[in-house]
Symmetry: C2
Subunit: 219 residues, 2 copies
């Protein structure tokens, strides 16, 4: 099985602009990527980063400047009859256990839903399956699987379901994460704020040298 | 094992006020409760509704007017050495499979996280464990379990993690639900709205007789 992790190192995580500046967003996205690659590697698989730009990272990298859907479909086509897993680079809560269940479920198409209708991870073992990540892709991927006559399984995982895109997602990472990205956030002064209902995040004023200027947290 | 489902029939789901009026919120909360009770029953367990007011429903009901935390702790105390499961009444995406994993995991304390720091479901098999649902209860429940020397397990379930509290949660129900509550929402004209990023919901103008005035959708 090929395990592909699409990644855009250039302007990642724009929806976090209210909490992190552009340089910080790049560092944070990179820390999440490392968590995802570590979790995949811990399952025994060797991930390939499908990057829109050159990337200095200790993992196999394939350059593809096209948008996400086109790049992933090219990877599916190139793979021929080899199964392909596609795991998003912002699943910073992913664990080896959750990913193993994804990889080991033996249907033609295995889907892990993301909050808000996305498809956070999938495995494709059918030559005619193609992705379309626009809109509510989870439903669309079910429909595509049905249309090509592929059997489908769903993975019920909170850890794979929480992609980190919006400021409130940072609370999930602070609550349940213990990897590079969670440590980076804590060092950057992002803190849980408890109010009525669900927790959110705020940011403490901290010395400049411990945040954007430094890689200290990115260890 | 006792399976307790706390429920407030009087003024439920106030955070949905932007989408549903008070009468609709009561009907919707009731439809979600039915989904939760159905899923529990399908695991072979017999749920008890722990209700703050009298309730006409086809399930065993125990009246306790106290706030959630006090009522659940009284149930834990009364149970003595009998294991107790506590399942929130708004887990309209819960499946028998996800609940079976919760019930069958054999640690002293088994926790299913909810989005935003909550504890959506738990099993307690330790006489000294007590709940506190205020704030980020998931962390607090871990700490309580540690303090009383109880072993703890986490359930990794998206379906148990999505309690339906906020308008954006309705999108999850429309995307992934097929029970009473999802049907009620669809009949009430609540629809998915696809924009950039995550899907949200909107509401169609529909004839009055098919919504709050009628129980037709609540079947």
């Amino acid at each position: 099985m090929q395990v592909v992790v699409p990644f855009d190192p250039q302007s990642p995580k724009t929806r976090l602009a209210g909490v992190l500046d552009p340089t910080e967003r790049k560092r944070f996205a990179r820390a999440m990527l490392r968590d995802v690659l570590d979790a995949i590697t811990a399952t025994g698989m060797a991930p390939t980063v499908l990057s829109t730009a050159t990337l200095d990272i200790d993992a196999e990298t394939r350059l593809d400047e096209r948008p996400l859907t086109s790049a992933v479909n090219a990877a599916l086509e190139d793979a021929g009859s080899t199964p392909v897993a596609v795991v998003m680079a912002d699943l910073a809560l992913a664990t080896p256990a959750a990913l193993s269940e994804l990889f080991e479920t033996e249907d033609d198409i295995v889907l892990a839903r993301g909050i808000g209708g996305g498809t956070n991870a999938l495995v494709a073992r059918h030559p005619d399956f193609r992705v379309d990540y626009h809109g509510a892709s989870y439903r669309d991927h079910h429909a595509v699987a049905d249309a090509v006559g592929a059997s489908t399984a769903e993975i019920d995982s909170y850890r794979l379901g929480m992609d980190i895109d919006e400021p409130e997602d940072l609370a999930e990472l602070l609550l349940h994460g213990d990897g590079h990205a969670a440590r980076w956030l804590r060092t950057a002064g992002v803190r849980l704020v408890e109010e009525q209902g669900r927790v959110s995040v705020g940011r403490e004023p901290i010395p400049v040298t411990t945040t954007a200027e430094s890689d200290a947290a990115d260890d």
